[in-house]
Symmetry: C2
Subunit: 326 residues, 2 copies
Amino acid sequence: MKLSEAGERALVELARKICRRGPQVRIGIGDDAAAVDIDGGCLVATTDMLVASRHFPPRTTPEQMGRRAVVVNLSDLAAMGAEPLGLVFSVGLPRRLEVKFVERLVRGMDVAAREHGTHVVGGDLDESEEVVISGAAFGVASRRELLTRSGARAGDLIAVTGRLGAAAAGLKLLLKRLPAKGYRALVRAQLEPRARVPEGRVLAWSGFVTSAIDVTDGLAANLWQLARESKVKLIIERERLPEHPLVRRFAARHGFRVVDFVLFGGEDFELLFTVRPRGWEKVRRALKRVGTTATPIGRAASGRGVFVQRNKKIQVLPDRGYEHFR
Amino acid sequence: MKLSEAGERALVELARKICRRGPQVRIGIGDDAAAVDIDGGCLVATTDMLVASRHFPPRTTPEQMGRRAVVVNLSDLAAMGAEPLGLVFSVGLPRRLEVKFVERLVRGMDVAAREHGTHVVGGDLDESEEVVISGAAFGVASRRELLTRSGARAGDLIAVTGRLGAAAAGLKLLLKRLPAKGYRALVRAQLEPRARVPEGRVLAWSGFVTSAIDVTDGLAANLWQLARESKVKLIIERERLPEHPLVRRFAARHGFRVVDFVLFGGEDFELLFTVRPRGWEKVRRALKRVGTTATPIGRAASGRGVFVQRNKKIQVLPDRGYEHFR
């Protein structure tokens, strides 16, 4: 079977089966990041690769490529509730590129890392046919605090930070070369994302958050991942989804469907999490203190699958990811 | 200026200048790996990217690709004296590849990681034009033990583990499609390398080793890196270099120069280090206990540059790396 027919999930499952887990490995392949026991806590590590032809929309500057490479990795640490300690990057570049390109790329990495309270500490430069940026981020968390995809329990509230759909709408605008006037915030959400690092720490500290994942593949796909790993049923209410204020206007203006951005668009880098109902107020207020709103969007129940409720009608939410969006 | 004219060293210097160093960062860009202070010690992290068209000789199997990706990263940790905790991999693959390829690649990674006492704990799979494997390894070391490239002092002995030249000779054999009969050990050194992880720990524990680097770019290039970072002069004796026993025979048989393998050939993954003379015997014996011989090959002195002595004649050793070898 060719990779093109297999799908990413099957390949991750394959790798998870092959790689034996060491005694120190608390979280192995398949979560947002890995966690290994060290004295007094956990070392958390993750890696993410960006390939120019697939991951950067037209008009992405080298600085923005560097930023994205930082954010995709830090977002994985945020989803584990870890405190970042540093980032390393392996970058493959075609020989014909200008040195100026590298300078701008690295500058984008440095600025983005520092914005998130961490640093680029090492790297490797190689020659390759197309621009490939592979980052790895590492950090620490206490064992008790670690947020995983597998801890959601029946009765938990489902919630999400911030507003959804802006990055996907921005991508659509760039790909279709639509006028950006009035929609600069959407373009910025796509090209200059931020990771929810302090929010991840707040969720981890709270003691009431049972699972978390970052919204990169789209809310629907990420809900399905939580449901599968936690072995629960998740039911969300369509009316409660926090849409980015510009998304509805943009969709109406150009004839797109809002749900395609809000439910099936990715790269918002918001945190999707489940929380014990009695802890909700505490979590909401703690997030508020770092400047972030969170919205309850549904509930976990015993069973399997992900469902969406609208006007008392409940239906299965398609497990459709961002890769079908472009 | 194009990247093709700039050279890797200039680009690393550029990145080192741009990236600001955080207060916790003990070792930043430019050493074998980075080190960040954590409670009770240092977190050590490194990344290395392998690109199919450049890093894998003909006839490399997927398992061997996986192994190499593990070894290049663990070798960097070894050169810092760190104890590995885990590896993460980002792999870019063309869609037309078979799932079997991924299975064999990941199996190679898993086996190699476990051979070195550690585990593959996470990863990311992406689509790319050619096979790109980017790994990151992380580990721990105590602050006092950390081995860097910058600690060599005048009066130190220079030494190297194992034997040199086999991997480069094996590469030459594969590239020129020469008969492997009688030279399987050279081919194996190229296709199935090992990292000197326990040896790195021994050097770090000893308390007498002042600097270390892994021999990946070739002994000459790696000596120059040590000399530059430590701001010392290094003088090696040509007669003392520990050649792999098959290299001289292979070179004579096919009309190659032995020095091209031993001094300018890379990927031996041996450890090159400097040691206080009064600690040499202790270090030598400690390495012996993990099954490895080490050979003193010269001395560090005050001054700058790298020199090679042969029959009382001293001349500058060219700073010529493995990239000119192929």
